[in-house]
Amino acid sequence: MSDKPYVRMTFDAMQRRALRHLVSALDEDDTGHPGDGAFASAITGYTEWVGEGEPVLTMGWDWEMRAGSDGVALRRVGDPRSNLCVVMRPGAADDIADSSTLLKILIDRSNWQEETLRYLQRRYDG
């Protein structure tokens, strides 16, 4: 049994990998029953991306949609989910918490919102 059920990759190598959008969706509305009271809920959902080339990379994360002065905007919330362990240097020890932080940096630097919004519009506007 392998001790490492994930793809190990440096932060630099990750920055060179292009990601392709796979699927996004809104969360089901699970805010309670009529009569339970009023809920102020944000629109939330998830998005899934895969890396081009080998080894195959997969990343997904949750987002929330907020209305701003420039229209609606998506913001990542929570930790990403992936098959990756990202390290700063080739010899660095595997650390899933550090990897999660590095993945969040990569995601927040990328422009995933535009493609995700386009996809959601196609999916839910019929």
Binding site: P5, T58, I96
Partner: protein, 187 residues
């Protein structure tokens, strides 16, 4: 919540029939999966005499959650039906790697739970914890699961370490994936 765990012969016949009907209600009627059904029960070729089940019931005895456990040293869902979810890696085949499948925790009798949510509640977290603990008692060191991607959120909430084995695939309109779950050994 009351928990029962065992095989089809150690669970009571009535409870096992309830599980089959519950799975039909969740996976066929609610989620729309195209699965084998028989007399209103959802059972397939992996529901064998040696298959293990973990079942959750509410205080009135209604099933509100279930899970299925199979050792990967015997035929199992991922290995036989969805090997492509391993992203080219060999499918597991070991006595200490078990598969978790048909996991559901929809409480159809709760007025505050969405019937569309498969992983919606504290029941789901408890059932997941119980299922992983039961697998550990059988010698599992790691689990592999074929699931909708929503189970990752549940695993995080329940405090488990999980890694994707590969990217999700859209099957029948639903993204599903294979996920490794690390098992903490008892004691």
């Amino acid at each position: 919540m009351n928990k029962n765990a065992g095989t089809s012969s150690t669970l009571s016949k009535e409870l096992f029939n309830q599980v089959g009907r519950y799975r039909h209600k969740v996976f066929v009627e609610t989620l729309g999966w195209e699965l084998t059904t028989r007399n209103g029960e959802e059972l397939d070729q992996f529901d064998r005499p040696d298959t293990l089940y973990v079942v959750s019931q509410d205080d009135k005895g209604n099933v509100n959650g279930c899970a299925r456990l199979l050792p990967t040293s015997q035929p199992y869902l991922l290995g036989e039906v969805f090997p492509e979810l391993m992203n080219g890696a060999p499918v597991p085949c070991s006595d200490d790697i078990w598969e978790l499948s048909r996991f559901a925790a929809v409480d159809f009798n709760s007025r505050t739970t969405s019937a569309l949510s498969q992983f919606s509640s504290e029941v789901a977290v408890k059932l997941l914890q119980d299922s992983i603990a039961f697998a550990a008692e059988q010698g599992a060191k790691r689990l592999i699961t074929v699931s909708p991607i929503g189970i990752e959120r549940l695993l995080r909430r329940a405090g488990f370490h999980a890694h994707r084995a590969g990217p999700p695939m859209i099957i029948g309109g639903h993204p599903i994936f294979a996920c490794w779950i690390e098992v903490r050994q008892p004691g």
